[in-house]
Amino acid sequence: MTIADDIAVPPAPATTKSRAFPTQRVLLGLLSAFVVIFCVLPFILVLAISFGRKIEGAAWVWDFTLENYQRFFVGILWPDEITFLYLQQLGYSFYFAVIASLLAVLTALPFTLLLTRLKRASQAIWLVFILSSLSLSEVFIVMGWDILLSNNSGLPKVFKETGLTAWLKDVGWFQTLRDWGLANPRNVKFKTSDFATILTMSYLVWPYAVILLYPALSRLDPSLSEAARTMGAGRWTVTRTVTLPSIRLPLFGTSLLLFVFLLGSYVAITVFAAPNKHTTAVAIYANIRGSNLNAPFGSTQAIMLLISASVCLYLGHLFNNRAQAR
């Protein structure tokens, strides 16, 4: 016999508990079912389909083959020939996402710094304005930029009508623009170009960059930069040695988040990128809903894109941990 056996345990308030308990369990069960059906199941289905097999001239069948993954890495002609078309598409996904996210963060940083120095009321107005711009859909924004950059009615037209194109030709910069793919023999052109693609993608995520950077920058102690100034540091030295190192983690986190977000960018790429620079996201759509009708391979590409994003997030997490430990 233990001491515990001797202790009289007071009866639990069973009535109240027995009433509340099933409700909680039912709610929890419903929530779990919701999460499984609407969040986990689609991913499992995509994963399962990625091992399926395409029937030529028809749809696809369930299977367990690694051919789709093999095709992703070495191309459809393997073993006769190795092609890296799909890796190249993934590469372009990274290329556009990295540059656009960095551009967004680099331009949002000085703006947000200035924003944090405004009066509270002005800050609130700006933040509401920036937040409201998030309500615009990607399609709407891209349509706007499409008009702005279109060869017949947008900026190129303005360039031509105002004589800017002629001036660029006179000073010799027009040829440089042609070398960069930003002009045809007659006028400047932005469609299709990496420039327009990256610009539009940056614009898409720019409000996110501001909103993600704002908390860290508004918490930045102004006395740090003032202290640096009193020790002989000029404006640029203060930025380089104090401001940027103080916010390197939020900067990195924001860039990473925007990068992952932009990896899946579809509309901007379809409208502005040259066809030979289309990304994995565009290829996925073409396979699943477009002309190819190869859902298993489209799913494989989606899984590879997901894995790539996860690896980037994990590396970011490692970097973050290491930086915090230091």
């Binding site: 202290a227 100034r229 009193t230 020790m231 030295t237």
Partner: protein, 350 residues
Amino acid sequence: MPGLELKGVSKFFGNTCAVETTDLSFPEGQLTALLGPSGCGKTTLLRMIAGLEDPTHGAIWLGDADITSVPSHKRKFGMVFQSFALFPHYSVRENVAYSLTIGGMDKSSAYEQANTLLDTVQLGGFGDRRIGELSGGQRQRVAIARALAQEPSVFLLDEPMSALDAKLREEMQVELRLLQQRLGITTVVVTHDQREAMTMADQIVVMSNGRVEQHAKPQQIYHEPANAFVADFIGKANFFDGIVKDGGVVIGKNRLQIDANFQSGSPVRVAIRPERTCIVDTPGDNTITAKVMFVRDLGPLREYHLQSDIGPVIAEYAAGENNPDLKAGDTATVHLPVESLRVFPQANAA
């Protein structure tokens, strides 16, 4: 090292006057405390000296040079901030060596000099630590070492002790004063703690509402306050409001003799320090009758809190002094010596 001078300096933020037109001189090698309540403009004044704020009017001179338009990074005044403003992404040594490395000195020499400075502030061996690993007192020392690294001509400290606990604050006040005396740097300290100012300063500038109320040596500020605000802000004082009549001050039914020239009928405020207020056995000139409300024994001091016809009075005696044997409820005769009474016009009263 040259002294510092403010000539007609003022500062407005929009329509709000933070610092009224001020003329001040900070003698070479001396420590001056800017003392006043929160919002009195003392930090704004310090920031103007540091070049972090531009004066609206007036000029700042360092020796023979007008430095009003010289940017803060070219003044190279060492400054310790209230929050210490240490760079969390650098080690202690890197913090101290910051001004040297950005000034172009090679890292090994800069670190060597930083180590010497860390020894000076008794933090030798702490060079590799992160800022987050230091206590409040250690952080303050690092901030001081960092500010001194560039060998500043003027050393500025903005409430450097406010983040420290009471005991450490007292220790650091003495340490800072000794360090300043040893280095002989012209130093300006902002504080709202009159005890801190009295401990460290050669001169005190008392400020209120953006105005300099008095600029003098600590003892003079204490014993000869320029106005009722200074008398109230520095140390403790008993105050009585009355009207001047025939060379005395009439307060209710009582009349106190004063040694000051005021026109008859002027409303005045009379002040006397508690340690100058005496409890005597027999009534005489300038005595009032009061009832003991409370006896406060602080160890080295004993305070008698009394209620009289002219208002509440505190009499303070040091331990070992001839303390009157009184308890709450007793009646006492309180003597307010003429020579200890300070009289101020009521318009200037706080």
